[in-house]
């Protein structure tokens, strides 16, 4: 028995070491750095300053703009990813050659590097890019739309690119959930005279609740951490209108050389993600109860 237990620990040891080295330690170190002043160069020049870095948050109007933009981004992407993801899953929830091909095509963007996606969409959204050219040829616009250059359009455009890339991921998760719903429940509902909408409301939705909360949580956490697409497409501009928490963190850390304050922003991102994870866990427990 003891030998089996020891063998068990040995098997998990590599993964545990990896977890400790690349997740736990950096996390704890970041929390520590948030209490220090450090330019990020000489390890001997890390000075403990307590909570002074946290006091930099209130007057930092770029932080608050980034927080607001992150909120809009999270809400926007979560709503549309789930709407389209679920919609596609419902539409493709049957096993034909056509649906297999379409599912694959929808999933391909998930496999692309976000940098490639960002560069591609930047070209599409260029004032003289293909999207404006098509819209002008169709007579839908007379002058170019500044997808990434107008105050109110830039973040919407990035949300669009994000949904394009990740909708396949949500679709696959919802598909998995749908395929676990026993067919007999739908048959029973049909026998009881339920129409398609009633079956969706009374059978599909309740049984997809667990999958949906997980998908929404993953979308939230992914949204709070967004960096790559924003950085490639706009670098947080124009004029901070697409600045998100992660891009502001990047600028503070690697341009302003304020590792301590950047770590504070990282801690805030972590705290927000933990709140979402906790809420989800509470919801799941209440459901089970």
């Amino acid at each position: 028995m003891r030998t089996h237990r020891f063998a068990g620990y040995l098997f998990i040891l590599p993964a545990l070491l990896f977890f400790l080295a690349f997740l736990v330690y950096p996390l704890l170190h970041t929390v520590y750095l948030s209490l220090t002043e450090w330019a990020g160069f000489d390890l001997k020049k890390i000075a403990f300053v307590g909570f002074d870095n946290f006091k930099l948050i209130p007057p930092d109007w770029i932080f608050w703009k980034a927080m607001r933009n992150t909120f809009y981004f999270v809400v926007g992407t979560t709503v549309f990813l789930n709407l389209f993801g679920l919609g596609l899953a419902l539409f493709l929830n049957n096993s034909t050659r056509f649906t297999h091909v379409v599912r694959t095509l929808v999933f391909i963007p998930v496999l692309l590097s976000p940098v490639i996606v960002g560069v591609m969409w930047s070209r599409i959204f260029d004032p003289f890019g293909v999207l404006n050219q098509i819209l002008e040829k169709l007579g839908l616009i007379q002058t170019p739309i500044f997808w990434l250059g107008a105050k109110n359009m830039a973040l919407v455009s990035i949300i669009g690119a994000t949904v394009w890339q990740w909708v396949g991921y949500d679709m696959v998760l919802y598909l998995t959930g749908l395929q676990q719903i026993p067919e007999e429940l739908y048959e029973a509902a049909m026998i009881d005279g339920a129409n398609r909408w009633q079956m969706f409301r009374r059978v599909t939705v309740p049984l997809l609740k667990g999958v949906a909360t997980m998908v929404i949580l993953l979308n939230f956490i992914g949204g709070v951490r967004i960096f790559d697409l924003v950085y490639v497409m706009t670098k947080g501009g124009p004029n901070h209108n697409t600045e998100v928490l992660a891009t502001h963190l990047y600028e503070v850390a690697f341009w302003f050389n304020k590792m301590g304050y950047a770590s504070v922003i990282a801690v805030i991102i972590l705290a927000i993600s933990l709140v979402f994870a906790y809420l989800r866990s509470r919801l799941m427990s209440e459901e089970k109860a």
């Binding site: 003289f128 500044f146 990434l148 250059g149 105050k151 830039a154 501009g237 124009p238 004029n239 600028e251």
Partner: protein
Amino acid sequence: MVAEAAARINRPPRDASRPKLDIPKYFPSALADLTFEGNTYSIPLDVNNLTVFYNKNIFKKVGQKIPETVDDLISLCKALKAGGYMGIAHGAKDGWPAGDLYFQMLAYSDGSHTMLRKADFGKLTWNRPEFIEAALQILKMNANGVFPPGTAAVDYFTGASQLFTQQKTAMFYPAGSWIVGGFDTNFPEGVEYGLFPFPKISKVQDSASTGGVATNWGVLKKAKNQDLVLAFYRIAADMKSAQILIDHSMIPPYAVNIQAKREILADMIKTQAIAQTRFVFTPELHSQVMSGVQGLFTGEVSAAQFVAALDRVEKTIKR
């Protein structure tokens, strides 16, 4: 630093084919970028100055000449528009070109060329007529079609440079020696391009460009062979090395009597003499200048709001 090194080290054996080694008189603007609180930390290898590149073929086609002032530039762009062309391709999305545009206008609005450095170090408020005027000039040019629509969304190396090489715009800014190779490759054959300093605000001013150090040398405090390093740097700063730099389309950081084979490089070398520094030591302020200019382009920021944002950022900096 270089003078001190010359006093200390043994000179390497004299190569008869090379002229006598001498300490070059670096351009003051180049050394200013590498000097902090009176200490020079590095010496320049080569410099860049930012000018407007223009398509000579388009200018000839629409019958226009090089503009001297911003008002001339606006008239030029109206004529270009009538001929089916746009004005100045400018990659404001990348941030740094937008900042450079502001510093260029500031080189004209601040005749003393000292206010940027003072504000950079928190010794001057940004809410001054000179800083506001530079922002107003950008607003004026943008409102009058000098830049293509949506410039805040156009990046430098792909968007703006393609607008220029595809001959949709007649001009490109900011341009320096780094981009000459790309333009040579991407322009169709037969297209000729040249440069001029950014137009000034008023006729009575002298022309000015802005510039800065492209590559610079340093030596680590703990380096073992510092004397040899410094000897090499001194060799790298002589006229023969200057010729090597010019042959590789780089601009020496001191005045030279060498004629570059290409006209555009010769013009760049000439323009270096009028280059003002555009270097900002405080990254938070530099970042805000870039963002603010993007805001000027999108129309969401006025000139007063532009400088107010800089003063706001200054208050958050611990000096």
